[in-house]
Every structure is written in C-alpha cells, then in structure tokens.
Symmetry: D2
Subunit: 122 residues, 4 copies
C-alpha cells in the first residue's frame, strides 16, 4: 500500500550525492511542482501553489542523475511518496519525500541526448 | 501539472462537514496510509511508516461521504495532492492534503451496499 | 515496472465468480470509463470515447465485491493494467484487464454502508 | 475522468513525425513495458508479459521527442490512456494508446544531457 506519485516539476537545487558505508551512491535534489489553474476573472492561467519535495535516488539511478540533472531543469519523477515526520527538540514537522523509481528530463521543455550506462553494484 | 495520487488507507477521524456561504457542503477527514515492507530478518511483513493526509471533498461527494464514511473504515481516495505551507507566528510547516476527486470504501476489507443519490447543486 | 492505473467508471456486467482448484474465489466484471471533454462549439461537456476493461479480483476482494458490486453502479478501481494478447485460430487481439488491488463504490455518485469482513483464506 | 498512466518502458520503433494542416507536429512511437515478477521455483526474476502502447505526442513535445528519442532507449511516459476501438471490414480490435503529457529518458538506465527549447506554436 505504497502511495505512488508521478510529478512533473523543476529542479530547485543541485543534485547532492553521498556514498553509503557499502559504497553505494545515494543522491537527492529539491523538486518544485507548480499547479496552474485558469482564472476566469483574468481570463488567463495563473499559478495555484507549489508542492515541494525532496527526491531520493539510489545506486544506478543516483549515479546517472548526478551526472545528468542540473538545477533549473525540468524533470518527470515517479516513485513512492513519503511524508516523513521529524522532531527537533520542541519543534516538529513533515518532510515530503519521493523515493524515486525513475527520473527523466521532461521533453515537453527541451531536447536530450541519452547514453546507456552499466553499473556493477546492481 | 497537478500531482495526482491514489491512496488506500484508514479513516482516522469522523467526517467534518461545513456549508460555504453559497450553501455548498465541504467535508474533510483524516486519512492514514501505512506502508508495509517485508523484513527478511524477521521473515514477516512489518509497518514502514504512515503517511497522514487531510482529505477534502466538495458538493455531492462531500454530502455523500458525510452520510457514508465512518471513523475506522478502510477507503480508497483519488485526487490532487496539495502540500500546503502554513505560517502561525514564528512557526511554520506543511499540511498534506488531498483534494478528492473520488472516495470509496475499500472492498478488500469489507462489503458495502451502494445507493445512488441526486444533488441539485451540481 | 507494472503499469498501475486508477479508473473511475461504471459496472457494465454482473460480477462473475468462480472458485480455483485451491478453493479461492476469483471474480470479474466489465468496467467502462468514459472521458468527458468540453466542446467549445456546443459550449457543453460531451463524451469523448469509452475505455473498456475486464476487472479481475482475487480472494477476499473477490468475495466482498461479489456481495457488493451490482451492474450499473459507479466504482473506483486501482490495480495493474494488463494488455493481454490473445490468439484464436487466425484471429488475434488485445484484451485490456485490470488486476485489481482495490475496488470501491464511487461516493461522488451515491452513499454506501460498509461492513468489515474476515476471510480465513488470507 | 481520464484514465492516467505512468509507464516505464523501451522504445520499440523510430519516432514518426507528421505535420497537421495547421502546421503543428504530431509524433508517435511504439512503447513496450515488461512486467517482472519473482519466480519462487527458479529463485529468480522473470518476465511476466509485455504491455504494448502507441505513444502520441503533440506540438513542442512532439518536436523535442523527435530530436531526442531513439529506438531501443528506455523512457518514462505519463499521459491519458485511450483504448481505441477500430473496425476494418469484418475485423475489429483495440489499439491501446497513450496521449502523452510528458516523456523523458529513464535515468535508471543511462545519463542524458538536456537542452531547453522554445517553440513559437505554443
């Protein structure tokens, strides 16, 4: 019963990559997805709020994304939504995250050249 | 570019209904969706975190849900995910919400008798 | 890499139930989902094609659905899309199917009374 | 009530592009999505059927995809599922199609360089 989402949005940070103790790459970036709705009063499309996510990627996807995804680009992300609850002293809150199954540049907004890779850790 | 989700979960509050100034019903309830994952060490399925949402319903759906959905029941909800940002003095946070397009009892967990309704405000 | 869909539609056949050799119920019904689009020429919403599916359900969901779902009712179905290819002599074609994870009455269209069940075969 | 899907798969044809009478590009390619399931008998993952789609793209997305997507590549596609019914003399059948909202290379499988474009017809 995972909550799966597909989100189209813009990359709002550089991709940050770390290695786990096992030597596997884990990468993440900040994703913003802005809803558009038609305003009848203005007779034009307007922004109607932005959803912010932290996108987490693992192993091959992490490595490929860190070579490919740049701040400001448009992407499609599909994966499990996790609304993590955090506590820090007296403060607490919710950190929305997508554990990405796949990430790709959104060709609605531009062109891309693809190059297949092979990773030995998978 | 709305972020659409389908969530299976349990109803964690009674359904609360209000009327707008126009006389349209708006209803909401709290929804919990718990991920299950297989723990190889224990050789059994274990809970792996719960996503909490406020589910919002409008007009006919609001009215029908308020007559049908009871705390503790299992439901399917599909709609737009909104990660609303709130500010209250110095504190601020994120309130995950689903603007429901449809809600239904999850027949994986039980049986249901359905009865069609007509609403004049739609 | 399953192709998951959530479909809102109408039940176009009675629910048919069989028992497997192991004694597990398997049920199915025909589901139609009609797209609506706004016709600017007519200034009204019009039908824009219907997707037809065979919905398959297993075990507890099969048993509950067979007691609950009636031809003509409105439902939400979420599950794996399978575009099965069939061959019959010289003829062949595609049979779209949804292996349902969950099914529920669509409360946009009516009210429902839910009753929890327990099944021993799960 | 459109049936929206997100599909990860492989491009099984070249991208074919035509221009409408209005001069807008329309492009399409064949997409295969193979389900994988774990076979306990063999203790390994095996293929469990392939869903085949025709993916349709319009305007800017059509133009960008025709410059970017090559037969054999891995992609993510999200859009409206249409199970079109065709008749040809005495024969008839179903042609599954995705009216793509977005298409992107699947970075699980490789790297990509993205370049933003501007199209005047949008």
């Amino acid at each position: 019963m995972s909550d799966v989402v597909t989100v189209r949005g813009f990359v709002a940070s550089e991709v940050k990559t770390i290695l786990t103790e096992q030597g596997w790459p884990v990468a993440s970036f900040r994703l913003g997805s802005t809803e558009r709705r038609y305003d009848r009063t203005k007779s034009q499309w307007v922004d109607a709020g932005t959803n912010w996510y932290s996108v987490s990627m693992f192993r091959g996807l992490a490595q490929n994304a860190s070579c490919s995804v740049v701040k400001g680009e448009r992407v499609i992300v599909t994966g499990k939504l996790k609304l993590r609850q955090w506590v820090n002293g007296e403060r607490r809150g919710i950190a929305p995250e997508i554990d990405a199954e796949a990430v790709g540049h959104d060709l609605f907004w531009g062109t891309a050249k693809f190059k297949r890779t092979t990773h030995t850790f998978e």
